[in-house]
């Protein structure tokens, strides 16, 4: 079965926690619109990579069948609590662990009561998959993995989904430019922290809309040289590994989350 859809969504919780703030409302609406498109693609599983799930030893994969509970973001706690509601496709996650290990990327399952699912995964799941109805395979961001190794992970996850005859949606969770306001701001006037980051973000988004995996890889290389991209934009590596290639992309929303760049992008595969 093919990969049926793919999306880039921000992991910052502000659009979810405070949707009545105008600069963040547009991102929230865009994420919900992307959720509509995702459901229309009728995936059996979401293949998720979030820049905010940090690993340093081995590659970690979520295998807890159902993760629930409250989560409070360490930075944005004053805006409210987040509700975890994530179902794992355990069999597929275990197949990914085996495949990654066979590919030389040592991997381990994570199945612990109370495990703190990262903010990005919770936020994206709330927007795209309310109620956590569609099970997911969630992979961590090992800080020592580069773009190419992360692309390998996305590729093998998609291959395992295919092997299990599952329609997969590939979800890349993370931001664009990672520079932010390090002081209190009037959130009703939130904007990208500087013009250079804004321009770099727009250039990268244009490259996405034009389509083509190779061109986007090149664009990310340039982008990382001009803006401080979120975790080297490894979430896009996961997406590119998962989809192989794409025809074009639709930007559903672009804006700032406390000065950092954020976008909701639908990658069209055919």
């Amino acid at each position: 079965m093919p990969v049926v859809s793919a999306f880039l969504v921000p992991g910052n919780p502000l659009p979810l926690l405070k949707e009545d703030n105008a600069p963040w409302a547009a991102l929230a609406q865009a994420a919900r619109a992307a959720g509509d498109v995702l459901r229309q693609s009728k995936p059996d599983v979401l293949l998720i990579y979030s820049t905010q799930w940090i690993a340093v030893l081995d590659e970690l994969w979520q295998t807890r069948p159902h993760s629930t509970g409250l989560h409070v973001d360490e930075n944005w706690y004053a805006f409210g609590d987040l509700q975890m509601d994530l179902r794992a496709d355990v069999a597929l996650a275990k197949a990914c662990i085996d495949a990654a290990s066979a590919a030389g990327i040592r991997s381990k399952p994570v199945d612990y009561d109370g495990f703190p699912i990262d903010t990005g995964t919770i936020v994206a799941n709330a927007f795209l998959n309310p109620g956590g109805k569609i099970p997911a395979v969630v992979a961590s961001n090992n800080l020592y993995h580069d773009f190419a190794k992360t692309e390998t992970l996305g590729k093998l996850a998609a291959a395992q989904a295919n092997k299990h005859d599952k329609r997969a949606a590939v979800i890349a969770i993370g931001g664009l430019s990672a520079s932010y306001f390090d002081r209190d701001i009037d959130i009703s006037h939130d904007h990208i922290v500087n013009a250079a980051d804004d321009q770099a973000n727009r250039t990268l988004l244009e490259a996405m809309t034009r389509g083509g995996a190779g061109a986007l890889r090149d664009a990310v290389g340039h982008y990382n040289g001009s803006a401080k991209g979120d975790m080297g934009m490894k979430h896009l590596a996961w997406l590119l590994g998962g989809v192989g290639d794409f025809k074009r992309a639709v930007v559903h929303g672009y804006g700032a989350t406390y000065g950092a760049g954020a976008a909701v992008v639908e990658f069209q595969l055919s």
Binding site: V56, Y77, F115, D118
Partner: protein
Amino acid sequence: MTQGKIVAGFVAPHPPHLVYAENPPQNEPRAQGGWEPLRWAYERARKSIEALKPDVLLVHSPHWTTLVGHHFLGVPRLSGKSVDPIFPNLFRYQFDMTVDVALAEACCAETQELGLTAKMMRNPNFRVDYGTITTLHMIRPQWDIPVVGISANNSPYYLDLNTGVEQMETLGKATRRAIEKSGKRAVLLCSNTFSHYHFQEEPEIPEDMSREHPQSYQGYQWDMRMIELMRKGEIREVMRLFPQWVEEAFAEVKSGAFPWMIAAMDYPSIPAELHGYGTVIGTGNAVMEWRLAA
């Protein structure tokens, strides 16, 4: 009211492996020992705490990273289960801590007074980070002394190192001012590893000490050089070398706890006591004490 004072400062690193190896009732996973020299170092530090009888423990943790300002725990009692997102196999700990909110608020106000952004964390559902919990458990497992938890503002990474260190030193001065006005006997805890080069794969048995050694010879050399300077009371030289140490040993002290504590203690020239040193997944960890008062 008697003027408050900082009675001691400790470098008190937070590898969760140490809690895991001790098998306390609060932690779910069970271990067959491991990292004994470091745990024995903490035994000595615990005796110091017992002798000092502080009213409050203040801990600065790199695993509560904040982007906008320096944050302080501001809920009187925080409890729950803390599962380490990096080492969930080792650390799933039921914590229950009493926060000295009055002192935290005073530290926050003094920090703002000195020109930094500072905030009180008032969300009762907040999950305290494993760095704070590990350091507090290892230094005082009874959990019978109120605490002040301080975040690690990201400035040393986001801005340049010197600017970030200056912020941490200012935070330290603000902390000292608040303590002095509080009338309390305070102990400072710098929750930092030194050399932070580490292995990237975990042994099948995490506590298999045949696999434990410094990951980096250069990191080890830096740790010994800095510990020796601290033992000689040459803290100004330590701070002069600080940027090079951070760069060449990939030292976790970059996150700010060390300059915060040293500045709060007003750069003590007394020799520090080394309670012990050991590696955890290859990182360098020292338990050290500066005793400022009886």
